[in-house]
Symmetry: C2
Subunit: 327 residues, 2 copies
């Protein structure tokens, strides 16, 4: 039933070595190559990738580890990563960690057992701190969240600048009591908060920072409470797309209009952010570029293992919409 390379060899009247070479790139005479190809067609042979990997010690596989593929940022990045992977003849193994350090460790171990070619990883802050390059026999490229400068290549947004950009924009639009709600698990959120804080300080304004699990529901709850307080801010900076959505829901539920009741500015130019009325001011991340760059770094690292560690920092673009219209 299961046809192997021996069957093809027999059908073509050659050795298995020749079949292997004909299918790969070895030197084979044209005549035999044709015989082999005919035999492959005749037998319906499909190579066994596990055997190939075992023998050739090359998995041709990329692992992608993210918190949740349903976060549109990761969705978009994953598509770019998958495209690059398959263009290079590699498969993609997808892992969702749910921001859970234990599952992160589990999946990293799995990647070792798979002997993957490389991994693209968006770690939680906690895990990012513990990541030691010498523990991994493959290139590990961090995206979105690199944490403190470590031994891994990475692609990130200039989060500090982006956080500040939002504050500057809000100040310019006439707001001064500006709150910030940031995710609690990633270094990215921390950097955005730092940018927020330094910009607030620079403008001589009093920051109000809160922290929340970076998901829509917790964010909605937190913002709902915040908006119900007597001295609520005039404007809110939200540190990612899910938190921004939570904030929009909370404002909508409380019947507070934006920008009149509360100005909103956040991250991730998701398709819906310009469909709500008024549209939401956001920092757009170059998502496709991030995924593509990560794969470039990964392949470069494979070629030049001893090259110094590189960190690609991409700029976010401010898209000003009605949600932060001048007071």
């Amino acid at each position: 039933m299961a046809v192997g390379i021996r069957d093809v060899a027999r059908a073509a009247g050659v050795s298995t070595a020749t079949v292997s070479r004909a299918l790969g790139k070895g030197p084979v005479s044209d005549a035999l190559r044709e015989q082999v190809e005919a035999a492959v067609r005749a037998t319906g042979y499909r190579p066994n990738l596990s055997a190939r990997r075992l023998r050739s010690q090359s998995a041709q596989t990329i692992g992608l580890i993210v918190a949740d593929i349903r976060n549109p940022f990761f969705t978009a990045v994953s598509r770019a990563v998958e495209d690059a992977a398959y263009r290079a003849g590699m498969r993609l193994i997808l892992c969702n960690t749910g921001e859970d350090a234990e599952r992160e460790a589990l999946y990293l171990r799995l990647m070792q057992e798979e002997r993957v070619t490389g991994v693209v990883f968006a770690p939680t802050r906690r895990t990012a701190e513990r990541l030691r390059p010498e523990d991994f026999p493959f290139p590990l490229v961090l995206i979105d969240r690199t944490g403190p400068p470590g031994g891994h290549d990475g692609v990130v947004l200039d989060n500090v600048a982006a956080g500040a950009l939002l504050v500057d924009h809000l100040v310019e639009q006439g707001f001064s009591r500006i709150g910030g709600l940031f995710g609690s698990t990633s270094s990215t959120a921390e950097e955005r908060r730092d940018g927020y804080l330094s910009a607030m300080r620079r403008h001589g304004l009093a920051p109000q920072v809160r922290t929340v699990l970076p998901e829509a529901e917790p964010a909605e709850g937190e913002v709902a409470r915040w908006l119900a307080e007597a001295d609520r801010p005039e404007a809110l900076v939200l540190s990612n797309g899910l938190i921004l959505m939570g904030a929009v829901r909370a404002a909508r539920a409380a019947g507070i209009p934006w920008p009149g009741g509360i100005a909103l500015a956040g991250f991730d130019n998701e398709p819906w952010t310009d469909l709500v009325e008024p549209g939401l001011t956001v920092i757009e991340q170059p998502v496709t570029e991030i995924g593509a760059q990560a794969m470039d770094l990964l392949f470069d690292r494979l070629k030049h293992p001893d090259q110094p560690v590189r960190k690609v920092v991409l700029s976010g673009r401010l898209i000003a919409r009605g949600s932060t219209a001048r007071r």
Copy 2:
């Protein structure tokens, strides 16, 4: 450098067979099992999954093939599939086909070479028609689009009923000149169109059907043209989330309000559909359920290969919102 099972065996003073059994489920005395575990810790041993797969002839891997992971429907389904896979100790290989029959064929071939345990697949109509169960040595479960009854298990929405449901709702709300815009590549879109057509006929109304590539941009262009026509419909049925978004953009761009200028009703209860104002009437698909059911079918099929083919049909739920408010 690379530590294998032989090194562990040597360190523990046992045979490789015993190590394998200690790590698996074979019968091993408690004393030896502890020795082996200690040796594993001491050596930092990580099993080589390729070797394991080759020998045990079991890949413990699920393939997921969809048009585009960025379609929120597939995003959500993929998450459910991944969860189920990893709960069963399996990995997930992700493939995006971009609705391209050639890439579908390519990936199906790849799945054979990977000797995967099973595949969850949302095929284009063209491919669905050609799918022959005997060509696949693994269970292939179709989701979202099963096409004509074939030899594969599947999980689908009751698309005909759902399409009709939207028409019934629109009629009830007082609309009669109702157009329908449907995707051109999937059997799902066809079924929704059939539901639309039969409901229109039942109500004695004249259907107006158009077809478009199931992506936001082509849909926006098509709807823009449609809305510019003199005898444009009063209401539109849109056959998936991306097409619905295109329609919303077109209406917004043309300055046509809904439901006043054009009533909108579509598929997929994506998070943004109730954030636009007024909210959009949609059919909600049980996305998580679809993914989970697909994996259930897959595992059942592995257990009972000769069981008759099963097709799970799930009902969509109508969520009526302002976009179809009474005329």
